[in-house]
């Protein structure tokens, strides 16, 4: 602290944050929901993000990673002993951690398909179909959406979000909005708008009554501090007595890692123009943004030029999820080996090219379709290398199974 290696604003911020910790130490326990000063900053960020829509700090809980918060909210909604069983509408494709949590809690996934050909859009007809399929069999209580998407890289339009909200109101579903990729938007003319903001714009009575949980994290976006474990949930329009139970549930475990909370603070309250750290911060974040934008361009180019691949335009998120048209012979070979065809492809890719992608099977996909998922937020030279290896492998693979 006494040296001159660190910028003044870094030291001041650190001092302020340490003062917010019990006895000035990151080694102390903090309050159940998180350190109050940090929650305050998170709530200010949310207000700025949503153009002034109010945010109450008591509705925010910081946890070690957003999944933890999601699991807790699901715990409140899901009664594992209920009959019929509790259902949660989940997208196909959907990342697997949420699905694991649902299974662990004894809930049933009620899948709704995203429309790949339209750029992975969320259509109300699909929601309706999913809801109808559950009738009499399961009791759907919540609707889980990921926006921007994972693994598919879509960003919902305002209209789409409005439709989803209206659907949730009609069917009395609690909206779980996983918005962890809100800072990862790069599509042309694409913008992230939060469920909360759209809800607020829809005005009363909806804006005062629709129940919503929004999740965010320091693991994604520009920070990408996955290891430090800092995430939060903001709860909107919940009944106060329900909030009390939510509070006692969150209290059964100590608060989030203090270091994770600190990273959340920095993420939601970054250096501003005029701060000594700002130039370096700007340089680093701009570099990340440009790298990712370049990667996106390259990925779309390459994936759409390779035979037997097609890739929807990437609007946001951290992954590409191209569709793979596997030759029948390859599908046969996979079945003989007792594997899903896209898993077979990924295994061969790993063994022959040393590149690890994950198969669409992990995330769910329409019957008879195959996909692969890979992360696009890598340094540009690594991306080039990946694409090079993939192209060369792919050519060989298609020849082998033609």
């Amino acid at each position: 602290m006494d040296g001159d290696k660190l910028m003044v604003d870094v030291k001041q911020r650190a001092q302020r944050l340490l003062r917010a910790c019990a006895e000035g130490s990151v080694g102390s326990y903090s309050d159940t929901a998180g350190i109050p000063e940090i929650i305050q900053k998170v709530s200010e960020y949310i207000v700025r993000r949503d153009g002034g829509v109010p945010c109450h700090p008591e509705n925010i809980y910081i946890t070690s990673g957003s999944q933890w918060a999601l699991t807790n909210i699901l715990k409140v909604l899901v009664n594992s002993e209920a009959s019929p069983r509790t259902g949660v509408l989940t997208p196909v494709p959907c990342h697997s951690t949420t699905l694991s949590s649902l299974t662990m809690l004894g809930a049933v996934m009620v899948p709704y398909y995203l429309r790949e050909k339209q750029g992975w859009t969320l259509e109300v007809e699909e929601l309706q179909q999913a809801f109808d399929s559950a009738k009499g069999v399961y009791n759907p209580v919540a609707l889980y959406v990921i926006n921007p998407g994972n693994p598919a890289g879509y960003v919902q339009s305002r209209e789409s979000i409005q439709e989803v909200i209206r659907f949730a109101v009609e069917k009395k579903l609690f909206i779980l909005a996983d918005e962890v990729y809100q800072d990862c938007v790069y599509g042309k003319n694409t913008e992230f708008v939060s469920y909360k903001k759209v809800l607020a714009e829809m005005g009363p009575p909806l804006s005062d009554t629709v129940e919503l949980a929004s999740f965010h994290t320091a693991s994604k976006g520009l920070m990408g501090e996955c290891g430090l474990r800092g995430g939060y949930v903001e709860l909107v329009n919940l009944d106060p007595t329900v909030m009390e139970h939510i509070n006692s549930l969150f209290s059964t475990n100590s608060s989030a890692s203090v270091l994770g909370q600190i990273v959340l603070e920095v993420m939601t309250n970054p250096p501003k123009p005029g701060d000594p750290s700002y130039p370096l911060y700007l340089k680093e974040t701009q570099h990340i943004r440009t790298s990712v934008a370049d990667n996106v361009k390259r990925v779309e180019e390459v994936m759409n030029s390779l035979p037997a691949f097609s890739c929807q335009p990437l609007g946001g998120g951290a992954f590409a999820f191209p569709r793979l048209f596997l030759p029948p012979k390859a599908i046969e070979k996979a079945k003989e080996a007792g594997m899903q065809p896209d898993t077979f492809y990924c295994l061969r890719l790993l063994e022959e090219a040393g590149v690890l992608f994950s198969p669409g099977t992990e995330y769910g996909q329409k019957e008879g379709t195959y996909h692969i998922r890979f992360c696009i937020t890598t340094p540009s030279d690594v991306m080039e290398e990946i694409l090079r290896r993939l192209s060369s492998f792919h050519e060989q693979f298609l020849k082998e199974f033609s």
Binding site: K5, V26, Y29, G65, E211, S248, L249, S257
Partner: protein
């Protein structure tokens, strides 16, 4: 619309600890003080739970230096930092993906750290083998315990899973069991015997539980939380035999293993004892041992890391342990790294050793001295008595509640607020002296109460704590004595105090340990 009716009944059933009520009150008091309200105290001191750094204990320099370098790798070149600090940080960074603490790790923890933990265990238990694959790192030991409890939980009614737990037990344990839908089956620890484990109590608890639930595990903390009892070899052996005979999974909370201070006493792990028993037991008794960053000498509660070692567990079940940990993704990397530092500290030949040894010795000495000092004072207070603790970071004195408080709990202020008498005592202590201590886990039926105080705090904070507690307690005792004197004087009159009608008192023949 989610109303109370829709909330998962399991969540509704999670008992709210008295802690949270006291802490909310403390927040209000602190806020009032900052707004200029007059109080006899400047700030609230909270020693109801184990948060040494939160109470002012300093972190270990080596830990913080290495962590700083790991978070900010430019510091690898900082020559003012000792060489061993920088080398250790380098080694730890190399163990992380992309050499960054910001990367995800495997859900069960970084392999390098799991290996270090295994090596620590082998050294501690003098060559009893330990394997990295049997070690699971989690965000705090509670999370690990929750995973195991959830794997055991199931069934309804008579078939509901039950876990034998000590009475008293750590105050976080009961809400955890509630959340998992598991029934707690308490076995009493014997206070007169310094809170020792009693086999006949284990038997009694198990027998009475049959028919009400399916007991599947026994939980025990050693050193005891909050009692401070340290089991000896014989005692551990008996518990292992009991668990083996009754086919109960042993859940051993050994988080205070490095906080033993009774002279000539040493921590012995359950695993070590098990491995010296006959071969059949050694190969079959299932045991899970928990340790934590929060409870050790390093006391880095805010970093959130702990681990469990599973012994003789079916590999198919272990697969599910890992699966459950996947839903948390991984424990904070910074916490995992500090686990490594805690269990593989500097060697005597390392530059950081002297400072490290000095700091840890000081912490150990502070704990021992605080325990002695507090024990004496508590035992000198009329109406309070405390068994000596041998380890851990709490004292758990017995409290003869003044009748004033017992009455208030039944018919006065406490009854209105639904407070147990001991919680009312703690609340009054908070309001009058700005001190939060924990209420024990007594259910009030025996008329027997306890308090819980964390004593791993800076010595001058302890003095302040003891001063506030004595003040308050002696005031209560004085009032008690004056009351009895008054009752003796005018038996036929109702005394009216502060607008309340006090019922007619009879001096009971109850025993109390009044020392004059």
């Amino acid at each position: 619309m989610t109303s109370l009716q829709d909330v998962n009944p399991r969540v509704k059933g999670i008992r709210v600890s008295s802690q949270s009520g006291l802490q909310s009150l403390a927040e209000n008091i602190t806020r009032d003080i900052s707004l200029g309200a007059q109080q006899s105290f400047k700030e609230v001191i909270d020693i109801s739970s184990g948060d040494p750094q939160g109470a002012g204990m300093k972190p270990i320099s080596f830990v913080r230096q290495v962590l700083a370098v790991c978070l900010c790798p430019e510091l690898l070149k900082e020559e003012r930092l000792p060489l061993d600090v920088r080398l250790r940080a380098l080694r730890l960074l190399e163990a992380c993906d992309g050499e960054s603490v910001g990367s995800y790790t495997a859900s069960s923890g970084l392999p390098h750290i799991r290996q270090t933990i295994a090596e620590f265990i082998m050294k501690r238990d003098e060559a009893v083998p330990a394997y990295a694959k049997n070690i699971f790192i989690s965000s705090g030991a509670q999370r690990a315990l929750m995973v195991i409890v959830k794997l055991l939980s199931g069934g309804e009614g008579q078939l509901q899973t039950g876990v034998l737990i000590p009475q008293p037990c750590p105050h976080t344990l009961l809400p955890l069991l509630d959340e998992a839908g598991v029934m707690a089956v308490p076995y009493r620890l014997i206070e007169e015997n310094d809170w020792a484990v009693d086999l006949s109590e284990l038997d009694r608890a198990l027998t009475t539980s049959r028919g009400r639930c399916e007991p599947r595990a026994i939980y025990i903390s050693n050193p005891g939380n909050p009692t401070g009892h340290l089991q000896n070899w014989e005692s551990i052996k008996k518990v292992i035999k009991f668990a083996a005979a009754e086919r109960l999974l042993l859940l051993v909370d050994e988080v205070y293993q490095d906080s033993v201070y009774a002279p000539n006493r040493e921590f012995i792990s359950y695993k070590k004892v098990l491995f010296e028993m006959d071969k059949h037991l050694r190969d079959t008794v299932e045991l899970v041992s928990f340790h934590s960053l929060s409870c050790a000498c390093v006391a880095e509660c805010g970093l959130r890391a702990g681990y469990m070692e599973v012994v003789n567990m079916d590999s198919g079940v272990m697969h599910f342990v890992d699966t459950m940990l996947c839903t948390d993704i991984n424990a904070p990397v910074t916490g995992q790294l500090v686990l490594e530092l805690m269990l593989s500290p500097p060697n005597p030949s390392d530059p950081s050793y002297n400072t490290f040894a000095h700091e840890t010795l000081l912490t150990g000495a502070t704990l021992a001295q605080n325990s002695q000092r507090a024990l004496k004072l508590l035992n000198d207070l009329p109406g309070m008595s405390c068994r000596p603790a041998m380890g851990g970071i709490y004292l758990y004195p017995h409290l003869d509640l003044p009748s004033e408080i017992r009455e208030q709990a039944e018919v006065g202020k406490g009854a209105m607020l639904g407070l147990e008498a001991d919680v009312l005592y703690c609340q009054m202590l908070l309001e009058e002296e700005g001190l939060i201590i924990g209420a024990g886990q007594d259910d009030g039926t025996s008329g027997c109460y306890h308090l819980r105080l964390c004593i791993l705090i800076p010595p001058d904070t302890l003095e302040e704590v003891l001063s506030r507690l004595s003040s308050f307690h002696l005031r209560l005792i004085d009032r008690e004595r004056n009351r009895s004197v008054e009752e003796d004087k005018d038996e036929n009159q109702h005394a009216v105090t502060s607008g309340r009608n006090r019922p007619k008192l009879h001096l009971t023949g109850q025993k109390s340990k009044f020392k004059f």
